[in-house]
Structure formats: C-alpha cells, structure tokens
Symmetry: C2
Subunit: 337 residues, 2 copies
Amino acid sequence: MHHDKIILNHGGGGLLTKELISNLFYTYFKNDILLEQGDSAILNTEAGHLAFTTDSYVVDPIFFPGGNIGKLAVCGTVNDLSVSGAKPLYLSAGFIIEEGLSMNDLEEIVRSMAEEAKKAGVQIVCGDTKVVNRGKCDKVFINTSGIGILEDRHKEIGSGRKIQVGDKIIINGFVGDHGIAVLGARKSLNFQTEIKSDCASLSHIIQEVLAEVDVHFMRDATRGGLATVLNEIAEHRNFGIEINEDEIPVREETQGVCELLGFDPLYLANEGKVVMVVPADKVEVCLSILQNNELAKDSRTIGEIVESYPGKVILKTSIGGRRFVELNTGEQLPRIC
Amino acid sequence: MHHDKIILNHGGGGLLTKELISNLFYTYFKNDILLEQGDSAILNTEAGHLAFTTDSYVVDPIFFPGGNIGKLAVCGTVNDLSVSGAKPLYLSAGFIIEEGLSMNDLEEIVRSMAEEAKKAGVQIVCGDTKVVNRGKCDKVFINTSGIGILEDRHKEIGSGRKIQVGDKIIINGFVGDHGIAVLGARKSLNFQTEIKSDCASLSHIIQEVLAEVDVHFMRDATRGGLATVLNEIAEHRNFGIEINEDEIPVREETQGVCELLGFDPLYLANEGKVVMVVPADKVEVCLSILQNNELAKDSRTIGEIVESYPGKVILKTSIGGRRFVELNTGEQLPRIC
C-alpha cells in the first residue's frame, strides 16, 4: 500500500515498518553489511569482528513499573549486541530533551543508565545533549548505539545461516510483560496491573550459553513481540516454524489483560526476552544453563524449525488446531520502547 | 546556578551545557574514556584504535539553504570522527519521525544522507526507525553514531596533549554560514539571505592534511561556534589563546545580519569548519594543502597558543584593543543543528 505520509504503524515493528525499511532505507543506503539485516551490523576489521547497533527510545511514559527510558536504552542496545553473538563493550548516549523536564527525573534516568551499564559490563563512552522547545518532543528521547566484540566462531549467529530443519526454539520466560507494564502505566488506559517490565540486560546469560552451546540464531523479541521475531526468522531463511501454544509462557494476568483489551500476547513487546534457535541435541544443556539464571528461570522450548510451510509460522493451538501467525499488519502500539 | 528544570540553554553548547555534562553525565557515567572529553571516544581494542562518536540532529527547519537535516547528520558525525584524527568508516542512522511527515520529504532526507555518505567515504550499516504521535516531536530527529579507525600516531590528536605554546591556530574558511542560513530559513525571523550553510564532510581534506602535517589538535566549530571551541581548547589544556579579529574570516553579509539581530559571528554555528592547532613551522604546508581544496580555500591563520592568560581566549580587535572571548553564558540559538 502506498502512503504519502508517515503514519504511526510505520514505526510499529510490523509489516509497514518492514516496507519502509526495504523500500526507502535499504534502497538508498544499500551495502553488504546493512543488507545482512542483523540486530547488529557485523564489521570485519583487520584484527577482528565488531558488532555495531543503534536504537532510539521514545517510550511513553518515561517511568513504568520495572524500569524507565534510561534503563531501557541500555538494556535494549546491550541485548541487540548480545543476540548477535557479541560481547557488548561500549555505548554512546544521545539525549533529546524537552525544555521543562524536571532535573530530578533526568537524574533518575541517568542514574538508572549508569547502574544498568555496570550490570551489563559496558561503558558509556560518548554522548550528546540537545534541548528542544516545549511541545517539540515528549519529555526525553534517548538514542544509544553500541559496539561489541565478536569471536570468529560466533560471527554467523546474527545472519541466521546456521539455522537447520529440526533445530529447536527456546524462549527465556514469560512474554508480554514489558508491553503490559507500559500500557498499565499510561493513564489513558483504565486498567491496573501488578506486572513489571521484564527490561533486563541479557549480556551475561547469553555469553554463558555461547560458551557451551553452538547457538544457530538469536534475536530479542522487542517491538512486535515473539510473533514478529518468529516471522523474521521464517521469512529471512525460508524455513517453516511450528510453535505450540501450550508451551509459550504467558502469565495468567497478561492473558487476562489481553482478552480485556483485545491484544495478542504474541505481539506484545518484551525487553528481556531472547528467542534462541539451537540444535536439538543441545536443548537440554542450553535450558539447564538458562534456568539457573534469575533472568531465564522460566525458559522453555516452544517449537521447532520445520521443512513444511517455508516462510510461515504455524501455531498449534491448545485445542489441537493450527493457524498461521502473521506479521502484524493492523494497529500497533506506538511508543512501547 | 541551580536549575530544577531543563531550559533551552542547557542544549546551547555554552556554559550551561558544560555544567549539565559535568555535573550529571560525567558524574554518573564516569570512566577514563569518557572523561577524555574528545569529539570521539578513543577505544583501544584488540582490533586497533577506534574512534566512536554520536550526535542527535534536531535542526529547525529540516530543509535550509545548503542542506537538510539528513546531510547535516552525516557531515556532523563524519567530522567528529575526522577531527579526532580517525578515518570515518561506518555510521548508524536512528530516525524519530513525527506522524504525518511527508514521504517525499523523508525520501529527500534519506537521499541526501546516502549521497553525503558516499562523498565522505562511509557506509551506513545499521539503523532504527521510531514514529511518534503528531505533536510529540517536530517532523524528524536523526541520530547518527559513527566508527572510525585511528592510526597509532594520531591517537593523541583529540586529547589536546600535544598542544604547545607557539602553535598556530588555523580555520578553513568563513565562520557563521550555517547559523545564518538556518536562521534565514526560519519564517519567524524576518530577514532574507543569500548565505548557504557550509555543511560539508571534511574527512578527505583532514586526511590529506594529516598525511603531511603533525596536527596537534583539531575540533569542528559547530554549536557554540568558534568562540566555544577556542575556549574548550584554552580551558582543557590551560594555555592562553590569542586571536586577531582582522584575520577571522567573516562574510560581509554575515557581519551585517549579526549587527541587525544582535548576534556575534564568533558564536554562530558552522558545519564545515575545523579549527586546527599546528606547529608554527608547519603552517605553510598546512595552509597550502587546505587552500587547494574547495572546502578550505579561504583557510587562514587566526591566532596562536600563548603562555599568558592560561585558560582564556583573548581577541586583539581591529582597532587595537584586547578583550576576553568568554564561553557563552547568555541566550543560545536552539535547534541550530
């Protein structure tokens, strides 16, 4: 569909985002590194491989149960490097601040960033501050870009080239927590929830897994949720993916809110969830490493790579049916991250 | 002065910006790399020395004579890497777009970025797109972060440690063009000008100079203008700087607009101007390389590093007087870059 103007869905992480990126950004910026479409760009320098990634954070509200925009800005970029197989090392921090933001709020955000960077084992090494007039942004937007170092044996993880039929798909816990926590914090939506954002840096747990398991692919399930990541895997490499509804960890409360508001938990954003594609014979060791860690204690195998239905994601439902899980074409939740 | 809230001047590049960075960002994020306060962070990795930098661009209006926000976003970050002595190689591009932006405008911006990246010899290798509701940003904000590679012999350029008394200060042309062009493009200010932004990537010309001249320090004179860069040099290394008003290249038209509107050209933003500190015996070769290039044909020596008045910038005026050029403490022009 042709659009003369940018609409909210162009930023939702679904089909329209994908179209905008392919038709505009890839068309003009095209180069071999960009077109790999990984979570990070892989830079092959003379002495080693680097991963490089960027994300802007515009979450509304800027404080929510389980985190704030600053913590999110560190976790999100650390995780993008981590799922590329890299060890995250350095972050930049670019602030666009609305005139009138309270200095206490800004300090709390910056404090959270410093704390999370320490946890994740990264240093914030450069930054930039812009201030715009009142009403020209919304409190604060933060961009973080990150650099990580990539061992030679991990450099194909982000490309998905190692994915094979029979590989199992693992997720490290409950889906949708971040989406529900942010929605609950919006005063416009009239519901209350105990659910906290899962916002967390997965750098250490992913490095632990990589030390023992030949992970074939990883991606963090953020904007667009689990459904979007699975579709990206299926399309990009042209395999089918079969997942079992009964195995997908969804909190009862998340399910309840979703039924109330008409959301599907598979499309809700997460900020501490990684989808791993691992060889079948490595599932046990992978799960045992994950389940030993607080950030992944509810890890489960949720499905596998199949030969049938190339490019499609098939959900085996609780009542024994099967349906396709499509890339989201409808209304997205804006400013969830 | 204590502020409870962020005000526009916190983003103006003057004293308040400096205070915000020192009191807040450096306090929480502190590490040896960040505290070098260079235009780029210098990363000593196994893969050699890397320069890493970030900038968010919020210029208003997004199109102006001589460029647009996209061209600016490439030039600005390329120049931050270049003045650190690095050869720029890779950029990220993070877009925050307001719902309703015309697709044609976005395409023109992206086209300019691709064109300028090609000119500068860099690849845009990763990106991010967010869309916010109408009225929650202003058309489009762009963050670019960049990575460059740094030869061992250039790794101290950004630190300023090589600056010595007697070194000469060179600028590659007229100051204030970008500031005047952007102000002229604002419909709110009722003046017209023929002046175009000097927005340009200086990567090639800087590399040419570095091949022949042991440059002791460089910085691009963007937000806050020439006066701010000179003050940063003087304060950071605690030398004095003496500049000659008569030698500073200012267009007659810039001077006229400044007199009319009450600006000082020394504080106006540039986006294609580099201040170089070079040993006295290298001035001739440096100027001859610069003046051979279209982007630097009006290069001139404007002053020198002196022992007296450490930390201060002294201007020898046309009529023979002397005055301090202070870091700007007054009203800044918001959203000039």
